[in-house]
């Protein structure tokens, strides 16, 4: 309960941001940070809790984004319905990919590479089909009304994103105190031992995929509505995949607050670098890559491991 209180208090404080921050620039930085915290947590459900490292999480992001955009542009489906469908498509594609890969026993690095390959396949498909706008991309018609999930005020976008992110963090809070969460950690730490005491590892991994894909899909819906434009590279390219895993790993995988910490630290670093170096192309990513290497080398359990120095626990869960 203490953690739930802390979580809600944090999000309540974050909800005040648009009332305090008046500059569009800084509000945008806050949106990017919360966005990272969302996709990092989505990745964390699968990677941190269920132990399956994905290198292609953009796949589910892209599916959610294209779902809301294509349905809206070609079939006139309202984006609020598209939001539900985008999340459902994200989850559905994740389950399909999981069903194929886990059925055939892919683990570890092979799972990572296959998710990457699936994202590439979708990128090429999106590049070649007319109803996704192929290489030119797809544009959602500007109509800044809340009923069309478009807002004149950047703060409203921020609140929409924050609500999605809260849903994701509440889900993980629930995982921490549920049978499903306990089973995910068991599968992560030792699949055979889990099976021996009655855990259906395949089903558990599929459920992790579904939840992870669902929140990536939601993130995709937000992205599409925020920028009203998508192309195959944005949707399925490596950027979102890398950001999702980076945020979770830097913050601490398998922890509730890790991805949030990771998102804040990474965006603080990248803004700091902008100030120090000016806007050099690539400078951001050099920092991100360096942080990733250093974290894996020296702090493989992420920043969250700093907050409980006495314990050697990977899971980092409070009872």
């Amino acid at each position: 309960m203490k953690r739930l209180f802390l979580l809600l208090a944090l999000f309540a404080a974050m909800a005040l941001v648009p009332l305090v921050v008046r500059s569009e620039f800084w509000l945008n930085v806050c949106i990017l940070t919360v966005f990272s915290a969302l996709i990092g947590q989505a990745w964390n459900i699968l990677g941190g809790y269920a132990g399956q490292f994905s290198f292609g999480h953009a796949l589910f992001f892209g599916v959610g984004a294209y779902a809301v955009a294509v349905l809206q542009v070609h079939l006139g489906v309202n984006p609020w319905i598209g939001l539900i469908l985008g999340a459902a498509f994200g989850a559905g594609v994740a389950v399909a990919v999981g069903w194929l890969t886990f059925r055939y026993g892919l683990r570890g690095s092979y799972f990572a590479l296959v998710t990457l390959a699936f994202a590439e396949v979708f990128r090429i498909l999106a590049n070649s089909t007319p109803w996704t706008g192929a290489g030119e991309g797809i544009m959602i018609k500007l109509s800044p009304r809340p009923s069309m999930m478009q807002f004149k005020d950047l703060g409203h976008y921020y609140w929409l994103l924050l609500a999605m992110t809260l849903a994701c963090y509440l889900t993980v809070w629930w995982l921490d105190r549920s049978r499903l969460g306990a089973r995910m950690l068991a599968v992560r730490d030792n699949e055979d031992a889990a099976a021996a005491i009655g855990v259906d590892a395949f089903a558990v991994k599929l459920q992790a995929m579904a939840l992870s894909g669902l929140f990536m899909g939601l993130a995709g819906v937000f992205y599409a509505q925020r920028y009203l434009y998508l192309d195959p590279g944005i949707a399925f390219g490596p950027t979102e995949s890398v950001e999702a895993l980076l945020v979770a790993i830097v913050g601490g995988i398998g922890t509730l607050f890790g991805p949030l910490m990771g998102a804040v630290v990474l965006h603080a670093l990248s803004e700091g670098a902008q100030v120090a170096l000016g806007s050099l192309p690539g400078a951001n990513m050099v920092i991100y890559g360096t942080v990733l290497v250093l974290m894996v080398l020296f702090m493989p359990r992420g920043l969250a491991s700093l907050t409980r120095p006495r314990s050697r626990r990977k899971g980092g869960r409070d009872a």
Partner: protein, 290 residues
Amino acid sequence: MLNPTILWPAILNGVTTGALYALIALGLTLIYGVLHIINFAHGALLMVALYIVYFLFRLFGLAPYLSLAIVPPVMFALGYALQRGVIGRAGHGRDENILLVTLGLSIVIENLALMLFSSDTQTVETAYGFSTVSVLGAFIPVPKAVAFVGAVVTALALWAFMSRTDLGRAIRAVAKERKGARLVGIDVDHVYAMSFGIGVGVLGIAACLLMPSYYVTPQVGHGFILIAFTIVVLGGMGSFLGALIGGIVIGVVEAVGGLMLGESLGQIGIFAIFILILLFRPQGLLGHRA
């Protein structure tokens, strides 16, 4: 629809391109076979090698083929240092950590290149760059023919090195039985770094052969990395012959697929092969199930 006069040049183009892919995959498969790690930075390291070839040409007028004397040793040293200093320390008992650290390295390397060299496409212009040779009625550019021969020679040389030299035998011993190798006094960390160095050194050869018919940008590695992984799993992880055949198969699939489905959709064949092989035959087409 598939007229042989169109199909044959496509196949020939695929075979020569595939040999280059194979050359890139050779280093990857060696590293996997010995260290059992997946080097995600392979594409980025190829890009580094291509830039070295490019700058040797730009600054000193050194022809790409003459760079063969310089670039492979430099890349070898880089690989050795990376394995000893960074990658070898990152495992913490999980192979995903290696994947992550090599991903991190590739991000750093690519974006450093972007900062230093900008995203402009750079090429090397040579007298022979546009000349062609005729093979059974189809024409292929001379650099591609040279690259094909170079790839085959490199694969053979690697194979001979692994079976005929002391270091090669030590590498194979470590690949097979790490603990046992340590017990008989082999310096396993050194052998790991040597293997990694050789794998990256082969990229130096690939870069010298590739540059006359290709180009370099900071992102050039992206196009190769998944293709190289596909070849490695297709040929069987750790198999040189498998990589050579796998590379040529992939080159032909890409060329013929592109002819039939169009350039962008043609690439799907490669990823489909990658996914299907990993799902159904992870030991590769030529390998045996352990």
